[in-house]
């Protein structure tokens, strides 16, 4: 994957270039050390420590991790809430986005305008988006119908979050599906039609297999986006009622600083959170590789 294909450059250019490393490499490398490498490894170490401030950690082994998994943290609840939310969002967003993409690749009038409008919510940040929907869901839907707002129970909050994320991401995934659909050669479905395949059969046996790469990308994108959701969560429900709509990213932040011991607990939760995201990324890498081999 990495530069594996390009042949090593001749030594002449190589040697000259190496001398220029302070200019080409050093700025990014120093920033990378400060902005990622050091915080990452110190964070990893701190997850095994008890600390009041970052300067005075005491090593405590797996005590923080044990605390994450026992009752006094909101971890298991948040994890369940986040997992369910992710499942629902991934299915809903991808089905809608794919359906819209199918309809908007048939050359109907207004296609460009429709695409433009569908994509637009994606550019709005999670905080602003969350508050727009909070107003609409509270004063336009929930209070008139039930006399209660989003903070009444976790069901309202859950579906509120689903609506917000779907509204934001359907357009994004639609764009990726459209670019996939456009690369399917028309002769294929024409040939299938001549062979007597119905529209549903063409979709199932020709179109879907051909756009499988886009489907994989979109599923993984929605998976990580839903799992890591924070801004929309903060704006729409802020975890209310109680901590019942608190997703993992928010649980980590809200755990930090509750008691002196909870700094370490929060950092241990962050490590677990990272491991889950990393496993998803690893699956993505593998499925992309497999596909490349097949082609």
């Amino acid at each position: 994957m990495v530069g594996g294909k390009s042949t090593p450059p001749p030594t002449d250019m190589n040697r000259t270039l190496k001398r220029w490393f302070p200019l080409f490499l050093l700025p990014t490398l120093i920033a990378f050390l400060i902005g990622f490498v050091v915080p990452f490894f110190v964070g990893l170490y701190l997850s095994f420590c008890e600390f009041a401030t970052i300067e005075n950690p005491t090593f405590v082994g797996f005590a923080n991790y044990l605390r994450v998994f026992t009752a006094d943290s909101n971890f298991w609840y948040s994890f369940g809430f986040t997992a369910l939310f992710t499942l629902v969002s991934v299915v809903l967003i991808n089905l809608c986005a794919f359906a819209v993409a199918l309809a908007l690749t048939r050359g109907i009038r207004g296609t460009n305008l429709f695409r433009t409008l569908f994509f637009m919510p994606n550019l709005i940040g999670g905080i602003v988006l969350g508050y727009i929907w909070k107003m609409i869901l509270n004063y336009g839907v929930l209070i008139p119908l039930f006399g209660k707002d989003l903070s009444y129970n976790s069901t309202f909050g859950f579906w509120g979050l689903v609506v917000v994320l779907a509204w934001q991401q359907i357009g994004y995934m639609m764009i990726i599906y459209i670019s996939g659909l456009q690369s399917v050669p028309e002769e294929l479905s024409e040939a299938a039609k001549i062979d007597g395949a119905g529209r549903w059969q063409i979709l199932r046996h020709v179109t879907v297999p051909m756009v499988m790469p886009s489907i994989t990308i979109c599923i993984f994108l929605t998976l990580t986006n839903s799992f890591k959701l924070y801004d929309q969560n903060l704006a729409l429900t802020d975890g209310k009622p109680g901590r019942m709509t608190e997703m993992l990213a928010m649980a980590i932040r809200n755990t930090y600083g509750v008691t002196p011991k909870s700094h370490g607990t929060a950092q241990a939760m962050a490590v677990i959170f990272f491991l889950i995201v990393a496993v998803i990324a690893l699956f993505q890498l593998r499925s992309t590789h497999k596909r490349e081999v097949q082609q």
Binding site: L25, L29, G35, F40, V128, A249, A278, I280
Partner: protein
């Protein structure tokens, strides 16, 4: 014939769907011109002669949180960070790929690895380090963004660098160009599409980013970006949000995005497609 008729129906159907889809933004716009009771009471109602308050909400909103200061800070942070990321990471990606030593490959894999790490992992340590180094102003936070955002940018630039035939660069070097002028005169122009894609993706991320600037910027000096200002308008009100002013602020927060979208729609969509590899 049947297809044509179906397509006409689809156009009608999608006109309706799109109208509904974009309706929340229309509702927001209307409500920004209404008085408070008309917002919470009848959110879907149009402004009437009684409830219409002109630009009063906007004036109140802007004054309440120094909105234009926030626009300025957001611009400084976003433009500064994106510019720094583009220049530094493209040079870095080219160097890593062309030198190609074992060290370079190791560093490259570390960059790729960083793409899979969520911000929460460094949420406590990074702001602490940034604070100790004094990177807490809108003018210095680009260094933090360069560090945390380098992964995706290096990855995308490397993908393109690999496809550039090395012979062009060799020819330039033989003609007496040093690596720096080779990079800026030969490599950079070829990579222009990648620069645009990376710029779009990083802009979308940094402009809307909330948590990182909240934890890194020095708020005692009034450094609030737009998302931070919106959030503070809610948290500082302790439950009694001035809805009129708040709606106006939300509209103001969206306007720059709509303008940006109108100006660079094609590039934005191309950027999104080429950046879709990120997990």
């Amino acid at each position: 014939m049947i297809e044509k008729k179906q397509n006409r129906w689809l156009t009608v159907l999608f006109s309706v769907i799109c109208a509904v889809y974009i309706y929340p933004l229309v509702v927001l716009l209307f409500n920004s011109f209404k008085e408070k009771e008309a917002i919470t009471g009848q959110v879907f109602g149009l402004p009437t002669a009684q409830s219409f308050v002109g630009f009063e909400n906007y004036l109140r909103g802007i004054r309440s949180i120094d909105f234009f200061n926030s626009v300025g800070y957001s611009l400084v942070v976003t433009v500064g960070s994106v510019a720094l990321i583009l220049v530094c990471t493209s040079m870095c990606a080219w160097y890593l790929n062309r030198v190609g030593s074992r060290w370079c490959k190791g560093i490259y894999y570390l960059f790729v690895f960083s793409m899979a790490v969520p911000f929460q992992m460094v949420m406590f340590t990074l702001p602490y380090l940034a604070d100790r180094l004094g990177f807490t102003s809108p003018w210095t936070i680009p260094l933090v963004y360069l560090g945390f955002g380098a992964g995706l940018a290096v990855f995308m630039f490397t993908g393109f660098v690999k496809s550039i035939p090395i012979s062009i660069e060799e020819a330039a070097m033989i003609d007496g160009c040093n690596p720096l002028s080779t990079f800026f005169r030969v490599v950079l122009p070829i990579m222009k599409p990648t620069y645009i894609s990376v710029a779009i993706l990083q802009t979308m991320w940094i402009w809307n980013d909330y948590l990182l600037p909240t934890l890194v910027l020095d708020k005692t000096k009034g450094y609030y970006t737009i998302p931070m200002a919106i959030q503070s308008a809610v948290t500082d009100s302790y439950g009694t949000v001035d809805y009129g002013a708040f709606m106006a602020l939300l509209v103001l927060a969206i306007i720059p995005i709509v303008v940006f979208y109108a100006l660079a729609q094609k590039q934005i969509i191309r950027g999104v497609i080429s950046g879709a590899v990120k997990g």
